[in-house]
Each structure stands twice: as structure tokens, then as C-alpha cells.
Symmetry: none
Subunit: 411 residues, 2 copies
């Protein structure tokens, strides 16, 4: 729900995320609709969707402003009265007090309203709770805030467990395995995979999902009745692919984040890392500090965006920059050494490159990047030439540096 | 159209892009639907949408594989025969010859098929042409390939000019103005706006768009016949809102990025900035270096994630940390001073806080953040307590620091 989605000011990422979660649980999504902030349109869409599905998830329009109409629209459509939930009111008041307000803004009172018979789904990340509303004519409607962080939290913590119970007997889960790779192009990887698997692998399905940070291969099989044989088939295909994918593979949590893999290895070894960044401007450090508890493994970083700062902050030899250029193997290694000694860590990573759109030359075009890793008894630099725009080059550079550290830690 | 959209493997960016193009042309989008690769579902969705709109744009399902069903489904739904267009056949054959195939693959023949009465929309970027199909019951259906590059090309070159002619008399271009704010909660802002605009501002529409980095207010008006009076009305409403929004307002480009506003001011003044970050771990530097040409205004940054690194890299007095704690006004100011002197910039920003989930205390709970700005003849620190999880606190902290710099530069 939201004019901004129809106008194109916001790209609908919630829909895809929910699609993944529901499919994982075994609930196929039949249809998705985007409608305006208009009570009649919201009510009509919910009622139409209920003709075609037993569960309708509505995202957006639960905020405190007058153009947030979902709660009222659904209650009206179902002929359900709204009542103010005293516990939600107390929660809202406490929330606003906590953030320094003397009283609850009047507009927020609507967020404590609950349609008759609905279940409140706690939202510890924001002021609008989710709601699970039984439709009078059968079926269920879930109302969620449109803010992605809040929507995701409520879905994982409140919606999925309840829905799993509601549809217990009829879930059709899909078994899947992910092979996460980084450092190989999708077309090259898919060609090598085709050569390795010339015949059909039916009923296993294989999909390539390219991301800026690498290419994921997803192996899926409908679980059906034989869960154990399905898992076995997936393992067989994965084993067949090993010679092709293993050189580029990393192991990570469900989000496919190599930082998680690197952090776990460093923490287990009781080791620390520092970074020196030029063209990525802090992105590498930001990724390494994205997980809770990162201070255990990350001590600090130096973002040296100019030549003088590389010299002064990292101790890079000015003559090195003069003779090799700032984007070079020698400077990448010197930067990593500098970060390692300044921050007294076990490991250090560095990145120096041309993110563009300006700054490229014939010898070092936009996308040219040197990354280096320096650790106990090891030094290694890697040259890459990345496609993509400024953002793409930066994201790929940070990922390459993390993959480089991952490969050294894995040795 | 596409299973991958419902499963969440692909995020629907085409919908938003089309929404922008159509709104710019003066065609409001009433609704968007995502349906599976299933002929019945495609036909049903098109027919339902035609009840509610005079133009339906369908993206996807025009490829050569057996799960591409859109062309046939729409032709069947309208009772229109498909015939093979000889010119399209010649084009396809030439295209495949150009890429080294000896003959046209059999599957691709379907891409030369055209429903009776439809207009072919040339696609120089791919093998599937677009189609403009008149619905027998009135209204128009446009079929486009789902590949974004091809879809965009056909839309700009073929669809929009034709649609502008078809609906010539009734286009309703929308005028809009954005008011970007940061540092005020959506509910508080909307309450103040309501108090300021107690009556109707019809025909101007006002919407709040909350983001992690702040709340945008969008004012829109259908241009109708009086374009100049529409613009005038928007200006009037904006002027009315000034006393309420100005303390939190920043000026930015269309993307609403405060970095753009800060960078422009620094570049104009020939000044530079450096950063010292603790809990944001590089996010602030990353944002400042996100725009092309940022090396003109950004020299570098120090990410001091540990107490010793604050002391060694930034010259923060160890006694200061011992007496005030690392998350304090005194340390925030000392960090900014350190970055400014180490990198010899005009300005420096610092952030020190508790991003969570661990590390909070009763006196300094998760979300407690000090930001500081130090510049020519000015020093200022700001205490904030942000809601949200680790990611939310980090994003809001970086935004607060940028807003702090923006307010000082604006003075």
C-alpha cells in the first residue's frame, strides 16, 4: 500500500522479501498487488485477493499520519469495530517518553487501535504493531508496517510462526542449498556449471542469482513426501559441482554475507583486523563493523582519500606513490602494512583503486582496483578490473578484499 | 509477469520505473499486479485491470522459452488470432545470423507472432518486440519484455509517444515539491504540520515519506489546465509550512541526499572535511565519498573502534576517556579536533555511540550517540538517543552528523 510505490518514488523490496520467506515456509505466493493510499482501493484489493488465497499480507499504511488508511479500511471492509488497546497505548506512551517526548502525539493514538477479534503482533522496532485479522468470510489478513526493518522483524518473529501453525498440514516447503561464490562472472560460472552437468538434474532445479558481491547458485527441490531423499539429491548435485565452484566458494550464514564467515574465523582464532581504504571510502570498515560484537575482531581503519593522507597516516613512502602511482600493488601492500602496524592487529586489508566516473587513464581505467592482505607470515596483493558504475566498483572492491582475507584465513 | 518476482528472486524495479515515466507524462497509475507465468492468471489480471484503467502495461513473458506465455494469453483472452509477421521474422533471422547462429532457433519463432490488429513496437536491444494491442471491449494493452534495458528502451522510444497521442486531451501531469527533513520524528512532524494547516489544502496533496535518514514531505498537485497556478499553489503551501519545517529542513537533489547539499556547499567554499568514527564504523566516510568528485572535499577519516585507537590515532587524552567514557561530549569533540588536525581540513565530524545490541548501560543505553562538528571558529557537539536496531542507529547517527555539518555550513 502506498502512492509512493505507484509513483515509483519507492521500489517495492518488501514484496520480494516476503516472497522468499513465504516460499521457504512452504506457502506459494499467488499474486501481488500495489495499490494507492485510498481506503476504497485497499479494501477492494484485500477482498479480491481473499477470493484467490487463504492468506493476504498487507504492507504499509499503518503509520500515524492521515494518509495511513490500511487499519481503518480493512476493519470497515470486514465490518469490524476498532477499539483502543490499553496495553498498546501504554507501550506507545512509554516509547515516546523514552525518546524525550512529554506526551504521546495525538496522531499516534491510531496506532493503538485494533480491529475486533484481531491479534496484535509486537513491533519492538517501531510504533505500529502488526495485526493478524481473521476475515469474516474465511481466510486471514496480516497487516504490517511498510518500513522494511519493522516489517521484517514482525514477519520473522510473529507472522511466520503463527502462519506455520495455521496452515500446518498443507505447507509445501522447498528444500534448498546455496552455493555462494565471489570473484567469478555469472556467464563464466554458468558455462562451467553446464559443462559439469550436461544432462538433466531433474527434479533438482538450479538458478544463478548474480549480486554485486558475487554469484549465488541456488539448488532447490520440492520436499514432497520424501524429505530425506530430496536432501540427498541436493547433496549429490552439490558434490558434482564442487570441482567447479570450490575455488570461488565461501561459506556464510543465510544472508550470504562473507563478513559473517570472516568474523567467525577471526573470533575463533582470537585475531584482529584493521583496514586502509582509498576508493571505497569506508565501505570495507563499515561492512566489517556491521555485525554485532564486531569490536572483538575489528580495531579500526584509516581512510586515506588523498596522497598526503596515505603518507602521513599510513606511513606510505612518498617515493612509492611517485614511481608506481597511488593505484598500484606496491602502494596497496604499503597501505595494508601501515594499517597493521598503526593499529597493532594480526591482519590488515587495503583497497586502492579508481571508482570513477572520473580519474581513469588508459593504463588504469575506471574499475582498476588493487586490494591487499597482510597477516602473520603472509602478504598478498590482487589486481582486479571491475565493471559497473562508481557504486558497483566500490561494492565489488570491498567484497574482493573480504574474499581475499577469507581465502587466507581458510588456509 | 514472472514466477521469479513472486518467489522474490527478482525485485520488481520495472514497476517503479514505469510509474515514474507514466506519472511524468500525466498518466496516474491506479494499480500494479504481479502474477505468475500462467496463461490463465495473466489473462485474468489483464481483464480485471482493464475494468479499472484505460491502459494496461504488461511486462515479462515475451521470451522464447515455454514458460513465456504473455503473448498467447492476451491474444486468447481477447479472441484475437496470432499471425507471423514476415518483417519480424526477417529481423529475427538477421539478428541470430549476426550472433553466429546458422538458423533461427525454433523457440524464437513465437517472437515474430503478432495478435490481429496489434502494432509492433520495435526493440533494437533484444529479440522480443513490444506490442500495442487494442482491447476489443475498449482500452489498450501494451506488452513489453521484462528485461529492464529492453523494456526501458521500447517505453521511451515507442510507448510514451504513442500513449501521449492516444490520451492527448486528458493527460494530467503532476507537479511536485519535496521538503526534506532530518532530526524530527514522523508523528511529531505530521502533528505540527496539521496544526499549521488545520483546514483543507485541496487540490494540493501532502504525503509523509519516512526514511531511516529522515522524513520527506511531498507536495503534489495535478497540473490540469493552469500549470502556473498549480506551481503557485504549491509554493503557497510550502511557505505556510516554513516555520514548522525549516529548523529540520535540508536542501538536496532529487534523491534527497544531504551529502549532495553538504558537498555542494563545501566545494563552493573551497573547503574540506575529515571524519572520526567509532560506532558507525566508516558509514559516515562512505556516505561522504559516495558522490563522484568527492575527493575535492573529503580528505580522509579515522575509524577508531577501540579506546587505544582513539588515543593513538586521534590524540584523544586517555584521561578524558577514563573520566567521561568513550561515548561523551568531551570525547566526541576531542575526536573531531583530532581528525581535523591530523588531516588538516577546514571541518571535521565525529561520531561516538552505542549502536548495540550489546554495550549499553543504564546511563548510556543502546542508541546513545554523541556527534560533533569542529570547523573554522566553531565547535559543537550534539547528544542524541536513537531508536532502532544496530543498523538503524548507525544510519541515523551518520545522518545526524551530516545534518549537523549542514546546519553549520548554512549559517
Amino acid at each position: 500500500v502506498g502512492n509512493e510505490l505507484l509513483l515509483g518514488a519507492t521500489i517495492d523490496t518488501n514484496g520480494a522479501w516476503l516472497g522468499i520467506q513465504l516460499a521457504d515456509l512452504g506457502i506459494p505466493v499467488r499474486e501481488r498487488r500495489v495499490v494507492a493510499d485510498h481506503a476504497g482501493e485497499i479494501a477492494h484489493a484485500v477482498q479480491e485477493c481473499l477470493k484467490n488465497a487463504e492468506l493476504v499480507v498487507v504492507c504499509g499504511g499503518l503509520g500515524p499520519t492521515p494518509d495511513d488508511l490500511t487499519r481503518q479500511a480493512v476493519a470497515d471492509a470486514f465490518g469490524l469495530a476498532l477499539h483502543t488497546d490499553p496495553e498498546l497505548m501504554r507501550g506507545l506512551e512509554a516509547r515516546f517518553k523514552r525518546y524525550g517526548h512529554t506526551r504521546l502525539p495525538e496522531h499516534n493514538v491510531s496506532q493503538a487501535q485494533v480491529p475486533q477479534g484481531a491479534t496484535v503482533l509486537a513491533n519492538p522496532r517501531g510504533s505500529a504493531p502488526g495485526l493478524l485479522v481473521p476475515a469474516p468470510s474465511g481466510g486471514w489478513v496480516v497487516l504490517l508496517p511498510g518500513v522494511p526493518r519493522e516489517m521484517r522483524g514482525i514477519t520473522l518473529e510473529e507472522v511466520l510462526p503463527r502462519v506455520a501453525t495455521l496452515f500446518e498440514d498443507r505447507l509445501q516447503p522447498i528444500l534448498q542449498r546455496w552455493i555462494r561464490t565471489t570473484g567469478i562472472a555469472e556467464s563464466v560460472l554458468s558455462e562451467r556449471v553446464s559443462e559439469r552437468l550436461p544432462g538433466s538434474i531433474d527434479p533438482v532445479e538450479l538458478a544463478f542469482l548474480p549480486r554485486l558481491t558475487g554469484v549465488d547458485i541456488r539448488l532447490t527441490i520440492a520436499q514432497g513426501e520424501g524429505a530425506s531423499s530430496g536432501a540427498h539429491l541436493l547433496e549429490e548435485v552439490e558434490a558434482l559441482l564442487a570441482p567447479v565452484v570450490d575455488p570461488f566458494r565461501y561459506y556464510a550464514d543465510e544472508t550470504g554475507d562473507v563478513v559473517e564467515a570472516v568474523s567467525r574465523r577471526l573470533a575463533r582464532a582470537g585475531q584482529t583486523v584493521a583496514v586502509a581504504e582509498s576508493c571505497t571510502g569506508g565501505l570495507l570498515a563499515q561492512r566489517l563493523t556491521g555485525l554485532p560484537g564486531s569490536s572483538q575482531i575489528f580495531l579500526g581503519g584509516l581512510i586515506t582519500y588523498s596522497d598526503p593522507s596515505k603518507i602521513e597516516l599510513l606511513g606510505v613512502d612518498a617515493a612509492l606513490i611517485a614511481s608506481h602511482g597511488a593505484v598500484s600493488e606496491a602502494v596497496a601492500l604499503a597501505m595494508a602494512r601501515g594499517a597493521r602496524s598503526r593499529l597493532e592487529t594480526d591482519w590488515a586489508l587495503s583497497i586502492t583503486g579508481v571508482a570513477g566516473p572520473g580519474g581513469g587513464s588508459e593504463a588504469k581505467p575506471v574499475g582498476t582496483v588493487w586490494t591487499a592482505v597482510v597477516g602473520p607470515d603472509t602478504e598478498h596483493a590482487q589486481h582486479r578490473r571491475f565493471p559497473g558504475d562508481r557504486e558497483g566498483v566500490r561494492v565489488r572492491s570491498a567484497q574482493a578484499a573480504l574474499a581475499l582475507l577469507h581465502s587466507r584465513l581458510a588456509e
